[in-house]
Amino acid sequence: MWMRRLPMHRPILKTCWQTDLPMAATPLSTSAWRTRARQLLSPDFVTPAVMLIPSLALICLVIAFPVAKGLWFSLTDGSLLRPGHFVGLENYIDLLGDKSFWNAVRFSTIFAICNIIGCYGLGLGLALLMQQDIPCRGLFRVLLLMPWIVPSLVAIVSWRWMVADEKALFNQIIALFGGSPVYFLSDSTWAVVVVIAIKIWRSFPFMMLSLLAALQTIDRSLYEAAEIDGATPWQAFCHVTMPAIRNISIVLCLLMTIWTVNDFDTPWLLAQGGPAGATENLVVLAYRETFARNDLGMGAAVSFVTLLVLMALFTFVLRLQKED
């Protein structure tokens, strides 16, 4: 019965901090404090606050606690078996002087940028194509989703066989055209190219699907109006399509950045971060520090730096989006 008393037509959590007056700038009188206190104790605030407690507790348990624990580990010198001592920012300072860290930052950046450009371009192109009335469109949509559906282990190991050596499929094709074999996984540059290419191959279906959904929400009358105004298909794409899918594109690119920076499967299953560290990203480095080098503090520090960079990027992009 108490739920029925809630005024459902107005925002439930519209309380003191959402009033129109700037709180800090206006000193509150005693009566104003009383009013605020009354508001805080009113069922409008207490009831939803109480209802939120379980969710908040769960969030604290599954997010805040591990993050806090990770932060603490990054400030210690322990291992997984031996509790460490507090060392302040020593791990972070060591990290800044560590060549493998900067190598991982460099590869993570290249990996993320190339994957986003690649999978967004490919995803958008195919989404535009899938929007057209082409034969067997349904079948193509299903087939194009396959790289996303196939388990990463199966997909990456299969790719590995196709590029491993001069007898592998890709080199057989190169040989057909009279080319010399390319040692894709043994050459640092080629290994980076292959890791990025496979990541793009695994990522574009998600982009395609999301962008296709966004494209289908664009009002067709806008294209008709553009056509009447004499716009070319390219101009219609630039001035109708792109502005309409701009926001979803930003969100997709942001999500893809996070997933790419946090991708362990592709560089690990394909080349274990090699050869000679060429495809070692920050996540692989964190794994190596923690489990291979038994340095929990450094591993946690790498993870935390990754988290901070991603959060900064996330905030920056959201702010840009808000300003627009």
Binding site: L81, A164, D165, S186, S188, Q272, G274, P275, R288, F291
Partner: protein, 415 residues
């Protein structure tokens, strides 16, 4: 349901429970975690052996669990950290000493004495001794030997090389028409070339004072020898990106003449097995010979609530483990000398050659210092040796790669 039906069902349930939970009647429950040291037949044999122990010891019940090598370190570390470590486990070469250093392993010197130190292959007990305590019982020896394709050498009219110089000439002569003189990998097995060839040249990762010595003259010379093979074009260019399985596949298909690998390589070669022979250890320019070996072992965890019964099982396991090879086709060579004399080993040419020719000159990964110490587990699993060998197989700057690896090794030892 009638009363009779109910009684029958109750009786049947009780009988089923009694059958399925025979272990519940044992006074002591032990958990034995065993790494996968072979194919499915190994796991089946080990499980049957545990059941044989259980049958012979009604007051102790051991539960067997096979632990895959993938993420093995995480498995044990997590189990220990969460207080759910096994009572006893097999493990990698330096696992016991590192866990002992963390206070998680019980010394097993009494069991080793009861069995008799003389029953173990020379140097194996030393390899598991730390702080004057035997921290684990040796059970298998893993070593690296050079194998060659007899058919390829015969076809080219080349006799098996005996020195570095001959080896270099042979690999170069055998390279061509899609065949390479040498194939290796960029993974851990590939990185074993670093230890093997530096030890062969009288060097190693460490000096006698356990200081990093990758940049020593002997070790540098050995690593440059590998770089020379690459410069000659004698090493399959795919090696840096190959896994060990890829490299073995290439060798078995006859696409490479030489490979450094574990003693049971011929067992993995299928029909190509008869065309594979063991190359006697090469003689370095300084007249030295050698390769690397590891002593895999069995350890008892401090978290056990039944140390006495666990030690009983440990001794029984060591005394009765021959079927792990003869029936389970387990990898590696037995640490118990008597088992090495079994027909299973002596009648297989390649394995007996490794035992006869490589084991006497093999040294632990800790050479030149010898023995074992906790940092070895990090050195073994860290990955910097993989980076070093990948750079060499790529034809990269060897001196820079050695300097990086040396600096990293110094860091590991300083920690």
């Amino acid at each position: 349901m009638t009363a009779n039906t109910l009684r029958r069902r109750l009786a049947a349930s009780t009988a089923l429970l009694a059958l399925s939970a025979g272990s519940a009647f044992a006074e002591v429950e032990l958990d034995f975690w065993d790494q996968v040291w072979g194919g499915p037949e190994y796991i089946a044999t080990a499980g049957a052996l545990v059941e044989a122990f259980n049958a012979a010891h009604p007051d102790i019940h051991v539960t067997y669990r096979s632990v895959p090598w993938a993420s093995w370190y995480e498995t044990y570390v997590t189990a220990i950290a969460s207080g759910s470590a096994p009572d006893i486990s097999t493990g990698a070469g330096f696992q016991a000493v590192q866990f002992y250093d963390f206070g998680e392993i019980l010394p097993v010197g009494d069991v080793a004495s009861a069995i008799g130190a003389e029953t173990f292959a020379a140097g194996t007990l030393e390899a598991v001794t730390y702080d004057e305590q035997i921290v684990a019982l040796p059970w298998t020896l893993d070593t690296r030997a050079i194998f060659y394709r007899t058919d390829l050498l015969e076809a080219a009219g080349i006799t098996p090389p005996t020195t570095w110089e001959e080896f270099r000439a042979a690999t170069k002569a055998l390279t061509g028409n899609g065949v390479y003189g040498l194939v290796s990998s960029g993974d851990t097995t590939g990185s074993h070339w670093v230890s093997s060839i530096t030890i062969n040249n009288g060097g190693g990762l460490f000096d006698a004072e356990r200081k990093a010595a990758l940049a020593s003259d002997a070790s540098t010379e050995a690593l440059h020898f590998l770089a020379d093979l690459v410069a000659d074009g004698s090493v399959n260019p795919a090696s840096a990106g190959y896994s060990n399985d890829d490299a073995i596949g290439s060798f078995v298909r006859g696409e490479a003449a030489f490979i450094l690998n574990s003693p049971n390589l011929a067992d993995l070669a299928g029909e190509a097995g008869p065309n594979i022979a063991v190359l006697p250890p090469l003689t370095s320019p300084h007249g030295t010979k050698g390769t690397v070996y590891w002593v895999n072992n069995i350890m008892v965890y401090r978290q056990t609530e039944h140390p006495e019964e666990t030690m009983t099982f440990l001794k029984w396991w060591s005394d009765n483990q021959l079927p792990l090879w003869t029936e389970g086709n387990g990898a590696g060579l037995p640490a118990r000398m008597a088992y090495q004399q079994d027909a299973y080993f002596t009648e297989r040419e390649q394995v007996s050659d490794v035992i006869a020719e490589y084991l006497p000159v093999a040294k632990p990964m800790s050479a030149v210092a010898g023995g074992t110490f906790p940092a070895m587990n990090v050195v073994d699993g860290d990955g910097f040796l993989r980076t070093l060998i990948q750079t060499i197989w790529q034809g990269g700057d060897v001196d820079a790669a050695i300097a990086d690896a040396q600096a990293h090794l110094e860091d590991v030892l300083a920690d």
